[in-house]
């Protein structure tokens, strides 16, 4: 295993406030933490504690209200939408609880999509095919549209999609939340294996035995690191 010395994600007093008519909601309250390259971190905490909000900041889907967030050496807070979108395309792989595959595209096309967006050409290297094979989605399954696949198969396709541009960071928001426990374990094995090969993974979960796959657990309560 490689030396986990270089921080790939650094949060310094990151605060996220949602302004609502009924009063501001402080979803994240001055969170400071650092995650090193190659780490597998689980984020735990009760519902509504701010886990997803934290992951969305790291995933560049949103920017903090205050504080600094540094991703692979780049400060995110000052970035415009175009730059944030580009980071999501190239540096971050997102795996969602609800798989979030595009229903109009086949499994193969779903995986190829980020590749197309990045390289602006079709994959002629066999990379997409190879990734799908590794995740146990054969050619016949690849031609199916997501609704025709089982939950586990969909999540495998989603993992392949998240990996296709070889991102520095893999973010997973309750990746097993919509799966039965047997399938959930299979998915966790895949993630653990990816981490063993050096991938940095941050995973939100509220299940202790899922969090056990990670080597470090950060617990969030009321928007603070507990």
């Amino acid at each position: 295993m490689q030396a986990k010395s270089r921080p790939v994600i650094t949060l310094d007093r990151v605060t996220k406030v949602y302004p609502l008519q009924s009063g501001d909601v402080t979803a994240l309250n001055k969170i400071s933490l650092s995650i090193n390259e190659g780490e597998f971190v689980a984020i735990m905490g009760p519902s509504g504690s701010g886990k997803s909000t934290l992951l969305n900041q790291i995933g560049c889907l949103d920017v903090p209200t205050s504080g600094t967030l540094t991703l692979a050496g780049r400060e995110v807070g000052a970035m415009n939408d175009r730059e944030l979108t580009d980071l999501r395309l190239t540096t971050i792989g997102y795996i969602f609880q609800k798989f979030n595959l595009i229903p109009l595209l086949t499994a193969y096309e779903n995986v190829e999509y980020p590749y197309l967006m990045k390289h602006r050409k079709n994959d002629d290297t066999g990379h997409v095919r190879h990734l799908l094979d590794q995740l146990g989605i054969d050619e016949a399954l690849s031609a199916h549209k997501p609704p025709q696949l089982s939950g586990g198969q969909q999540q495998r396709v989603a993992i392949a999609r998240a990996l296709v541009n070889d991102p520095a960071i893999l973010l997973c928001d309750e990746p097993t939340g919509n799966l039965d426990s047997q399938t959930g374990i299979q998915i966790m094995e895949v993630l653990a294996q990816l981490n063993r090969r050096g991938r940095t993974i941050i995973m939100v979960t509220h299940e202790r035995d899922i969090a056990a796959y990670a080597e470090r657990t950060i617990t969030i309560r009321d928007g603070r690191v507990a």
């Binding site: 969305n56 995933g59 889907l61 949103d62 939408d81 175009r82 979108t85 580009d86 999501r88 395309l89 190239t90 997102y94 969602f96 979030n100 595959l101 595009i102 229903p103 109009l104 595209l105 096309e109 190829e112 999509y113 980020p114 197309l116 967006m117 990045k118 602006r120 050409k121 079709n122 999609r161 541009n165």
Partner: protein, 412 residues
Amino acid sequence: MILKDILLQLSVRSVRLHFLRSVLAALGIVIGVVAIAAMGMMGANMTLSVTGELSQMANNLVVTAYTGGGGFMGFGGGGGPPGSGSGGSQSREEQMITQDQFRNIRDIAGSYGTVYYVYSQSDSIETSDQWGRATIYGLDPDIFAEVLELEEGDYPKSTTTVVIGPRIAERFGLEPGSKLVIGDSDEGSTATVRVVGILKEKGMSMDLNTDSAIVGSEKLYTGIYGGEGEYRQVNIVLDDVDNVDTVKEEILAELNDRDDEVTVQDSSSMLESITSVLGTITTFVMGIAGVSLVVAAVSIFNVMMMSVTERVREIGILRSIGTQRNDVRRMFLYEAGILGIVGGVIGAVASLLIGYIVVLGMVGTTEFFFTWQSLWYIPFAMAIGIGICIISGVYPAWQASSLDPIEALRAE
């Protein structure tokens, strides 16, 4: 670019997924395209058929007294001669061509073709059971055979006989042998004349509009209205169309030497004014047809908004995995474009059919239908239809692209 392909693929599949809805929205575009193209083609075919008729008169020149203005000829297919539009009260004080001027013109143009003078007047006419108005022409009897073509009967040989145009014959139920009264007894002298011949249908013309006119001898005419030797116009029929400019210039040089005495018109000046009037009418009618495209635009807009609303979650996914805003925007513009192209293409095909029927019905001939001046309106209307679709998609596409990714992902 292949990238366009995947976004285009998404748009195509989205349209296919909502096939019926898309077809209905495109139908509006189809109707708009057909309406615009059919009206445009109708205008073009009218212009072309008028041009065709007038080009047969390219060797005609009409000389009228100079009236100050440009001396534009009114155009009324088969209506009165120039200057007669104002009704019955016109006459002596109006500018006429004099006998001297006529002789001058004949001296110049006589060697190039036929030169003859025309008396004309709009007046009321009466048959045994009907009353109406018509143009009364008075001509030199020697010229009848040369400038008038008979459908049936004979040319007038006395001062009590006339030939009449086919439309007037039809309207008043006249045939050779019928009698009619020219003039109103309350206003001046009248004459009872006998119809001896019916003229061939001639269509619009610049020298003599005989279709709804009564033509008699000079003596008959001056017997009723007086004014001998004061001609409404002088017509010149040239043997060679190439001499039009020469003759025109010679007449102007001779007669308008000191003062502007006469105006010489050829078919091109008439063509110009007719073409311009037809152009205005065509544009106006196409504008009305264009209103149907506005309705279509509303329905496209509606369908696009529905599509954006239904695909909010998908937009959230696309954005969250790194799709730029302008790519999302483009995806929806493609969708609008697809509706436009489908509507436009179907509209173009339908225009060919419906345009043909409209032209046949409204213009009476499809002789000019398959010319580019006419068919050009099909791609023109198609482009407008597609353009309208894309414009209708701009706001929905913009809305889709400015959705917040997190909010969009939350949508069910």
